[in-house]
């Protein structure tokens, strides 16, 4: 690679590197930027890779498998396993345990027992079989801790872990005939949750997008710091060229320099990123588990090579963009390709910035991005639209500030104000990259904050709806729920001061319909589908407090009288249905046609759901699950549970304390967004520090002109006031420009990305109070720049700068 002797290279390297010996803080800033960018991106990427692999593993491992439960509701033990194996059934224990230290969950399996799960038939034979009769898919677990380990190891680990972090399941190959299953057991599907793939993928997609945004912001900051160094070194490059050093030789030395710097910064960055992921994986895993019923399994890590190579490539491209641009321009020398390449590969914030194509390019990108965000029907396209709009605002923001300042300068008659306005324009152009990075960071923080706050409020309402009762009592298998309802109705204290209702859940079938002119959506075809059925009664205040999105005049009265059903938002959107439509549904071979009385908020539940009065359930309908929601009021829940225990003649009744669950849920939810908030906060701090450094360096370069004002008769305090005004105007301007971008991003997240990813939409809310907080942050950044500059102004008498500094790009 080196076309000149090593000693010459060494001399040249030493000469060029002397810049950083003179400015060690700049070198430190560069290294820190690379390291932090690597850390943030690696951290997020590590977590999402781990989570995505977990989803894949769990789907592959448990696809179409069944598990066993005890009919009496007791927990499974080793004795159950032994009994079932002795009965000749193919069962396998599945022991999940929290991984000590590194976060995530390990799965203990018995490889010998897993043997009977292996595929026995040939694919050709499989194809000819009914789906239900196909043999289980082949599966041989690798016991390498990613996430599978031998069950004996898992059992040993389980002894040192809290029992709530351990769960034992028994997987089974359905026996032929079904009657071979002992009477004490029943078979259920082994699934880690409904539609986890779609939801989990969407969640991870959002995290990926956030990671990408962080990467973009840090790349901008990195470029700005590097560009600053290059600008300061231009005179040195020119001098070396006068001494006969070829520009290509200088470029090679610069390449080696940035390669070394990148390598020295990226490797610890990757290490820190993995450390960060390890630290937050506990909370992240809990969030994944609670939100999507998908545990975060241990060991799904990627190698060091991918993040290292990715970040090295990004650093090289970002820092050597000028060289890449020159190469691209040489390659596509034919117009208009050359012009396009020149436009796309960017230019210095100097004279080229003022060229006319920039505003037009920004406008074009903005229009394309906005239209695409509005019309796109797939997530990747919406994300692409977001990227277009961000690119457009990134180009437009410094230009807008510069144009506004130029207009103000033209309009004002006061020379000092005119100077200030023109100086603001210079700053906007010279600090374009860190400014844009700050704008992006502010917009991202604003959108994430709005989304998280709305999410929290919605989640709170959801908890309020689902956990409205103080207690929840599960009806044991075989117990008579109707008798219990009669007993509860006969309790005078409960009737006077408490509320309760019975719940029976199961499945309802909705038929396909085509072009039904009686519906609110006559042109929509409806597909046949199974939906969750929730039968409730009697109608208590615990139900009437539910939030209804649309309803007829007296929905709950009609519901209590059995005159109709209610559907959740998800079913209303997908089927589709509106209030007043007639819903045909089949419950255990009985067909109903009932009007839709109301649509209730489901707060993100992905499955369709029908709420029906319990009294309408046909006798032959067998509920999958039955329970009572009870707020005992003046009576004692212990007395109620004792009464039900006696009535049902069982050893114990499972009573769930909803208040406690709510506290736990709140805590888990807080952890869910800890990562998001932490990342956005770190990015904002990074952007603020970068602008601070860049602003300080920029003002240092222009300190002479501020001192000139002192020479012309302004006191130091007056000069400082001018400087403060400039810094504050700049930071507040970019904050103001970040607000619409942030609000738009919130809109995209709420109204486009969420419905496309999750199938439901949150209410859109904006928080002007938070805008004020961001305003305060920008004021603090501006004031910090001013305070830093105070020391520059306090130096000795003014000294003229060199003639070389009077270049055109200074204005």
């Amino acid at each position: 690679m080196l076309l000149f002797p090593a000693s010459q290279f060494s001399n040249l390297f030493s000469a060029l590197f002397s810049h950083y010996r003179r400015h060690p803080l700049q070198l430190l800033a560069l290294a820190l930027m690379i390291m932090l960018a690597t850390m943030l991106w690696t951290g997020v990427n590590h977590l999402t890779t781990q989570a995505r692999a977990s989803l894949g593993q769990s789907e592959q491992a448990v696809a179409a498998r069944s598990q066993l439960e005890r009919v009496d509701g007791q927990a499974l033990t080793v004795a159950d396993f032994v009994t079932l194996r002795r009965a000749g059934l193919c069962v396998m224990p599945w022991l999940e345990v929290e991984s000590p230290g590194q976060g995530g969950r390990l799965v203990g399996v018995d490889p010998l027992a897993a043997g009977c799960f292996e595929q026995t038939g040939l694919d050709a034979v499989n194809e000819s079989l009914e789906p239900s009769k196909k043999p289980e898919p082949a599966w041989t677990p690798m016991l390498n801790g990613e996430p599978f380990i031998d069950i004996s190891e898992a059992a040993a680990l389980a002894q040192n872990v809290a029992s709530r972090n351990v769960s034992l399941s028994l997987l089974i190959v359905p026996p032929e005939p079904a009657s071979a299953l002992p009477a004490d057991y029943r078979m259920t599907g082994f699934s880690l949750g409904p539609d986890t793939g779609e939801l989990g993928d969407s969640f991870l997609l959002n995290l990926d997008a956030l990671g990408f945004l962080v990467l973009l912001i840090t790349a901008l900051l990195l470029r700005s710091v590097y560009q600053l160094g290059m600008a300061q070194r231009r005179d040195s490059f020119a001098l070396l060229q006068r001494f006969g050093v070829m520009p290509s030789a200088i470029n090679r030395v610069l390449l080696v320099e940035i390669l070394l710097l990148a390598l020295l910064s990226v490797v610890p960055g990757v290490w820190l990123g993995r450390l960060l992921a390890g630290t937050v994986s506990g909370g992240f895993g809990q969030a994944l588990d609670s939100l999507f019923d998908t545990p975060l399994y241990a060991g799904q890590s990627q190698s060091w090579l991918t993040p290292t190579a990715t970040m090295m490539a990004i650093v090289l491209v970002v820092c050597l963009a000028q060289n890449v641009r020159a190469l691209l321009l040489r390659t596509v020398a034919v117009w208009p390709l050359a012009s396009l390449a020149k436009l796309l590969t960017g230019a210095d914030a100097g004279t080229e910035f003022r060229q006319k194509p920039w505003p037009w390019l920004a406008l074009l990108l903005a229009v394309a991005g906005l239209a695409m965000a509005l019309l796109a029907q797939s997530l990747p396209l919406v994300f692409f639209a977001v990227a277009l709009v961000f690119a457009a605002t990134g180009i437009a923001a410094p230009f807008a500030i510069a144009a506004l300042s130029a207009t103000l300068a033209r309009k004002t008659r006061e020379p000092l104000a005119r100077w200030r306005h023109t100086e603001l324009g210079v700053m906007a152009r010279r600090l374009a990259l860190p400014l844009v990075a700050l704008q992006f960071a502010l917009a991202m923080v604003l959108a994430v904050q709005a989304l998280v706050t709305v999410f929290e409020a919605t989640f709170d309402e959801w908890l309020g709806q689902r956990l409205a009762a103080d207690y929840f009592i599960e009806v044991p298998a075989g117990a008579n729920a109707d008798a219990a309802a009669q007993w509860l109705a006969a309790q005078p204290e409960l009737a006077q001061s408490g509320d309760w209702h019975q719940v029976a859940s199961g499945v309802a079938q909705l038929p396909a319909t085509a072009n039904d002119p009686t519906t609110a959506n006559p042109k929509m075809d409806r597909k046949a589908q199974s939906v969750d059925l929730l039968a409730v009664g009697p109608v208590s205040p615990l139900l009437t407090m539910w939030s209804l999105q649309a309803a007829n005049d007296q929905p709950w009265q009609g519901f209590a009288a059995g005159e109709g059903v209610m559907v959740n938002e998800q079913l209303a959107r997908r089927y589709p249905l509106a209030v007043g439509d007639t819903l045909a549904l089949t419950l255990a071979n009985t067909r109903f046609e009932l009007p839709v009385l109301a649509i209730y908020a489901d707060y993100g539940r992905p499955a369709g759901e029908v709420l029906i009065n319990l009294e309408l359930l046909p006798d032959e309908f067998v509920p999958a699950f039955e329970s009572f929601s009870i707020s005992p009021g003046a009576s004692d829940i212990a007395l109620i549970s004792d009464g039900l225990q006696r009535l049902w003649q069982v050893d114990s009744v499972r009573v769930r304390d909803n208040k406690r669950i709510r506290e736990l849920a709140d805590a888990v939810f807080d952890q869910t967004f800890l990562l998001t908030r932490a990342m956005t906060f770190v990015t904002l701090v990074l952007a603020a520090i970068a602008l601070l450094i860049m602003g300080w360096v920029f003002f240092s370069i222009r300190a002479w002109y501020f001192r000139l004002l002192q020479v012309w008769g302004l006191t130091k305090r007056q000069v400082l006031a001018q400087l403060g005004q400039l810094a504050l105007t700049l930071t507040l301007s970019i904050t103001l420009l970040a607000l619409p971008l942030g609000v738009w991003l919130t809109w995209v997240l709420v109204h486009r990305i969420n419905p496309l990813a999750f199938g439901w939409s949150l209410p859109m809310a904006i928080y002007p109070g938070f805008w004020l907080q961001l305003g305060v942050v920008s004021v603090l950044i501006g004031l910090s720049i001013t305070l830093l500059m105070r020391s520059q102004l306090g130096g000795s008498g003014p000294k003229p700068v060199s003639a070389a500094s009077l270049r055109g790009d200074e204005r």
């Binding site: 023109t422 324009g425 210079v426 020479v711 012309w712 008769g713 006191t715 130091k716 204005r811």
Partner: protein
Amino acid sequence: MTEPLLKVRGLGKHFASAGQTVNVLSGLELTLAAGGSLALMGRSGSGKSTLLNILCGLEQPDAGFVSVAGEHLAADSSASGPNQQRWARLRRQRIGVVFQEANLMPALSLLDNVRLRARLAGHSDQHCGDWLKRLGIGELAQRYPDQVSGGQRQRAALAMVFAMRPSLILADEPTGSLDARTALEVADELFYQQAASGCALILATHDSTLAARCGQRLDLAQMGA
């Protein structure tokens, strides 16, 4: 008897360098009448720029005192407060400073630079264009500093100074970065306008021909400063 415009008595200034104290100025005495001119000579580092900075109140002396148009600056003067505000007003209204280069705000046109200086001095900016014309660069009024030559920039700097109608001009090697012919033209303008406006001039220079055109001469190197 008329009070001199500038009076310097027992002026001293030292700097600390590499652990040693370097006396740049020591016991300096100087008097300049209104309308007079003085050439400051001396090697690089002899204290010419430091003296000019002290004379316009940008630096504090370590000993002695300076009086300009009745305003006193002594070694024990406060670095801030009313004294500094008085000196800032003097610089704004009565003392014009011209450096070797970089006298103009790069983001403003030549005309706007002159206007800014005139307005800071409390004058109307109506005749600022005339000053540019008088100095031969009227047609460049809307150009920016980076769009004109070094000589034209120095003419604009002179226009700025004269537009503020000063009592005293402190010029720190104003032709030092220009070629011989341009330097001569700029110097001619400086002396012509100084004579026409009746202000005093202190000119720091290495050029003995230029120094010879001043009424007084002070060689800091010979003073042993």
